[in-house]
Amino acid sequence: MKPARTDIELVTVPLYRLAHSRAGDKGNRLNLSLFPYRPEVYAALVEQVTESRVQALFAHRGASRVSRYLMPNLAGMNLVLDDVLQGGVNGALNLDGHGKTLSFLLLGMPVIVDSRLL
């Protein structure tokens, strides 16, 4: 019989390893939903995918405000980012004026989790 493992090994991984996300836009406002593949990961995401960290991740895009709405029933969250679309679908010079690709910018955020949750 193997001895019970008591130590916890923490690893840093991109959100991409733990969760999926979808981007949507209205005007110059972007929303990113975020759902962990495993509900046990939800608490770690609530702790680490904070409004301030998301705003920092999108600072180069001019994020002026980030609001986070938790959806415990769905084990997910909705992140709403203001002013990151550089004018939005009709105003941006960016190839992706909708911001549809930006869910994968969020999924690059590093998070620290118990390796057993991977």
């Binding site: 999926h20 949507g24 209205k26 939903s33 709405y69 959806m71 769905l74 997910g76 549809k100």
Partner: protein, 462 residues
């Protein structure tokens, strides 16, 4: 009361034009009360429609209308499947004429087409009490800049069209979910203050309005979130019960998937505060929503609640946005990234003295495998590509076309006057339409439905 089926035939302007066929086949096979919805009007496409109409008064409605409707119109008319769509865009009259012609071609000249009006408030805009929409605060453009102003109407005038006997309902700007809510209200007789049912019906619409986005589209990630059959995605069918219970599914034998994950992603798509999703018909609270897989490609959504509809309606205003220009040039092989960057530096320097300071610009570097590849894409599939394949992109914006032409011309000139091995230049210019959103008083908006008559006068709903 029987289940009502809502099929999606398109989720945006430019969507697959053969998507409705399997949906209609399944609706016919089921033989239950149902409707087919074409949602083809976004903030981008409304602006494009107004631009098209300025250039040709015969344009301004959904450009793919004929391709979308022709394959299914006859089957829908013969089987009592109501068709609803915001395919009218800036020119619902023009869309009605196309549909009437398509119906004549399949010997259904007696088709009843309902036309919803009242969204276009451009002529009255200056005299209305306007509030900026929450995320935007900009001054109203002057009358010379103003192209259009359209209110997001709710489901009520669409139900009036159905009451008039319309088999096809054509609208301009309405809230996307209202296209789905209207046939539910018409069928079940839901009261306009039955907020929980209106909210459930609105979320049925929200889940269906983007077509395949709830059934495996905008979702696949190879090796992580795999979806089979992306080339033959089944567009959704939403089953709605009288009490508002709803199930998302798709036609059998089609590609894609309906899972808790696809449904959860779409549930929050373009949503801000989940406790207050604003529509003209109801304020939806989906913060307590539950999503549950109840069978293969069948997902149940419940726990949706509603509150009284907002007193103001969102209006999209389109106004002159000057000109946008884009131009690109490729560099590949050894040191390609450095050459692309050098090209960008040269361009920036040239634009400081060849273009006015008011020129808004950006440069991007794009690339994987393009100019070195063959027509079959051999290099795209190799694990290690070439040393590089980069494409410098310039995008500029100015009120005057000549400066946009001048700036993009500077990128073209990199052919001969830029770094080594630059090629594959492309340029395009387009007239821009900017949009802004405001809130108008509901009491200032008068929406109504008429039956379209190609030559005669129309009957007005009371």
């Amino acid at each position: 009361m029987t289940t009502f089926l809502l099929g999606s035939g398109a989720g945006f302007s430019g969507d697959r034009t053969d998507a409705a066929l399997p949906v209609v086949a399944e609706l016919i096979r089921r033989g239950q009360p149902c409707a087919l919805v074409f949602e083809t009007l976004g903030e981008r496409t409304l602006a494009a429609a107004h631009r098209a109409m300025r250039e040709s008064p015969q344009a301004g409605f959904e450009p793919l209308l004929e391709e979308l409707l022709a394959p299914v119109l006859e089957d829908c008319l013969d089987n009592g499947i109501a068709i609803l769509g915001n395919v009218g865009a800036a020119n619902p009259e023009g869309a009605c004429e196309v549909i009437a012609r398509l119906a004549r071609q399949v010997v259904r000249a007696d088709v009843r087409i309902g036309r919803v009006q009242g969204d276009d408030i451009r002529a009255r805009l200056a005299g209305l009490d306007l509030q900026p929409w929450e995320a935007e605060a900009q001054a109203l453009p002057g009358p010379e800049q103003l192209i259009s102003a359209n209110v997001y109407l709710g489901a009520l005038p669409l139900t009036q069209a159905l009451e008039l006997g319309a088999q096809v309902v054509v609208t301009g700007r309405v809230a996307d979910p209202s296209l789905f809510l209207a046939p539910l209200v018409h069928h079940f007789g839901w009261a306009w203050d039955d907020w929980d049912r209106l909210a459930a019906g609105t979320m049925a619409g929200h889940l269906g309005e983007c077509g395949a986005q709830v059934s495996g589209g905008y979702f696949a990630d190879p090796g992580v979130k795999d979806v089979t059959g992306l080339a033959t995605l089944g567009y959704p069918i939403i089953e709605v019960e009288e009490d508002g219970r709803l199930i998302v599914t798709k036609p059998p034998g089609t590609g894609g998937c309906v899972t808790e994950r696809t449904v959860k992603e779409q549930l929050l798509y373009e949503v801000h505060d989940p406790a207050a999703y604003l529509t003209p018909d109801v304020v939806v609270d989906l913060s307590g929503a539950h999503v549950r897989q109840i069978g293969p490609d069948r997902v149940e959504v419940c726990g949706i609640h509603g509150r009284p509809a907002p007193s103001r309606l969102k209006t999209t205003v389109c106004y002159e946005g000057g000109w946008q220009g884009e131009a690109e040039i490729s560099y590949a092989g050894p040191n390609a990234l450095a050459r692309a960057r050098l090209a960008g530096q040269v361009l920036r320097e040239r634009l400081t003295f060849r273009a006015p300071p008011a020129l808004r610009k950006r440069l991007d570097i794009i690339g994987h495998a393009s100019v070195f590849d063959d027509d079959t894409g051999t290099l795209q599939h190799e694990a290690a590509g070439s040393d590089g394949d980069y494409r410098l992109r310039l995008a500029v914006e100015h009120a005057e076309k000549r400066w946009v032409e001048r700036a993009t011309q500077e990128l073209l000139a990199l052919y001969c006057a830029g770094p080594a091995g630059g090629g594959g230049v492309r340029r395009n210019l387009l007239r821009r339409v900017f949009t802004a959103s405001y809130l108008v008083k509901r009491s200032d908006v008068e929406a109504f439905a008429t039956l379209f008559e190609p030559e005669g006068t129309a009957d007005e709903a009371s």
